[in-house]
Point group: C2
Chain length 360, copies 2
């Protein structure tokens, strides 16, 4: 007889994108930033003495929080550092959602949310997006009717790339009686001309938590560093009760701090990625692949001629040629592939393979 809890026994784990070891692979499947982290991160690493590692790290990554607080113009008590953004998502559920309660997200969405809900043995509800990837009118009321305790909205949205405005977010926060989690994993790639900024909302809404990560924007997926932004009353229990006491390590704290301090370097990578995103979108269009407008570092691509060749076949053909993209075998996504915007060289290779594959 298995000792597993019944809900764990029947659940499936998170199906993360492949992480091939070979350098020959062009990885456009897990939305990593193709550029290295800032030189200041390398400098910070070079200055670390391993002789300090015998001591526990700063439990709450104080220097990192001070830097992040300055960056966002908030108080350090509005910030919780986490071992990647995923840890924050888990902490939110274990702190705020009882097993009998309901977690919700959009359909489609980041597929980790239902896994975390299943682990906590929660109910799980999906709110379908419209064909143009919009949210239902008066979502706050709808969530209340469905007795949702926590709603996870990834914004800009994955896997569509769609950006919901801060006005939309605020409207939901005002009506919704549960916890609104805005997962801003990709927010760094939003066009600055849109002047999108949800951070000030944490001062007006005591049911709003914003997730940030250094994995994408700051080219530090390998470091595992994320953080949450919210009013003190929401941060408190996460920080003092449910978080592992030393959840981020000494080296990661120093490197993450250096990354935020040299944000200008990363901003330049964001600019390059936005530019490549535009170039790639147009080039794909020319070969019969249309992309949803994206404010992220990836493109959700629809194969316009599915009769000749479908999305899954394209995914497999690219994979054979060592170009990894993501295919989701689920409703609304079966005719699509999700492609990370890579370096110029990577994007060119992708395009050349697609041109050879798609005859139209």
């Amino acid at each position: 007889m298995s000792l597993q809890r019944p809900n764990i026994l029947k659940m499936q784990g998170y199906n993360f994108g492949e992480q091939p070891i070979s350098d020959a692979v062009i990885k456009l499947n897990t939305n990593e930033n193709p550029y290295p982290p800032s030189p200041q991160v390398a400098e910070a690493l070079a200055n670390i003495q391993t002789s300090v590692l015998n001591r526990y790290p700063s439990p709450m990554a104080t220097k990192f929080r001070e830097t992040a607080a300055r960056l966002h113009n908030i108080h350090i008590d509005n910030i919780i550092p986490t071992n990647g953004g995923d840890e924050l998502l888990r902490l939110i559920i274990t702190t705020y959602v009882d097993p009998a309660e309901t977690v919700a997200t959009t359909a489609p969405s980041y597929s980790l949310y239902p896994v975390l809900a299943a682990t906590q043995n929660c109910n799980f509800v999906e709110i379908a997006l419209s064909k143009s990837w919009n949210l239902p009118e008066d979502l706050g009321t709808l969530l209340n009717e469905k007795k949702v305790k926590a709603f996870f909205l990834i914004n800009p949205h994955a896997p569509t790339g769609h950006l919901f405005s801060s006005e939309q977010i605020e409207k939901i926060a005002s009506k919704f009686q549960g916890l609104l989690v805005i997962d801003e994993a990709y927010v760094d790639f939003v066009d600055p001309n849109r002047q999108h900024n949800c951070v000030p909302l944490i001062h007006r809404h005591d049911n709003l938590i914003i997730l940030r990560t250094l994995s994408k924007g700051y080219s530090l997926a390998g470091l595992r560093f994320g953080y949450g932004l919210a009013c003190k009353d929401l941060i408190g229990p996460l920080a003092t009760k449910t978080r592992d006491s030393y959840n981020t390590d000494s080296i990661a704290q120093v490197l993450a701090t250096a990354a935020l301090q040299s944000k200008a370097y990363s901003e330049e990578t964001w600019r390059k990625i936005r530019q490549s995103r535009e170039v790639l979108t147009l080039a794909l269009q020319k070969i019969g692949i249309s992309c949803s407008p994206s404010e992220t570092n990836f493109l959700l691509c629809t194969i316009d001629h599915p009769i000749q060749i479908n999305a899954k076949t394209i995914y497999e053909k690219l994979r054979k040629e060592n170009v990894y993209v993501r295919y989701f075998d689920e409703p609304l996504l079966q005719d699509k592939i999700r492609v990370t915007v890579g370096s110029d060289h990577e994007n060119k290779r992708l395009l050349s393979l697609l041109r050879a594959t798609i005859k139209f």
Copy 2:
């Protein structure tokens, strides 16, 4: 109204030892190894290129597991890497103990266990140790009678330093129908002449998980790296369902691997600490402080003349002089302080302050 779950609202978080920032403090309060990690760890750090950090880490720290598997002469599927040992403890509860079920440990014990049980909204039972810190006879049957789902035994024991033999452990594992978690955070400091080794038990008992950490023995508390050892059926759900997909970072994986590869260096620190433990025990005895026999890197010290000066006062007086030790205001421990075995210099300072404080 708070959005917290009722059990989270009423629980207290883990009360970890103080982590002062000042270099002036002699830290003998959180059982860190006073020596730096091995030179091979420093070399590994110097060879890390930050340019690889834009990619996600190896999800299951494959190279680390290969190294640990060789070290323990087991299969890599018997190993789960975790972000410090604390993560493993949490994963065990969220995977194997339902909110309605019971977690148990000894009294006294590591005070994180009840916090993790409260977070999962489990029942919590304490099994009192005898005055010589021994376990009850036929503990396995007792745990079954109390319907315990998971029993956490820290061995060598904290805060007493007592070592339970592998025969005792095996006897519990044989009788107990729940999950037996042996937290070996301090096992590296056991006298090698005792030939203590519980790892082979994982092949004979499918209800046994062993925790290891690099925080103490390998001088890497700042790195957050631990691992679990168990049969494949117990490791599987932890690894594929409840663990955050990328729970250990790229740098930590490389450094942890280097630490295990240069185990001989750390063994030398263990030898020095065992030697200091003996010297310190005798010196304390001379000033009226008796220590429980310890197979760890700390000593549980009883103040033999509590009328003149009690343990809490000593703790406070030492603290004023920038020497931090640990005082636990709980049954069986109120007349004691727990002191980490430090470097020669640190131990001397401790002794000189104690001599000045205790007049007998």
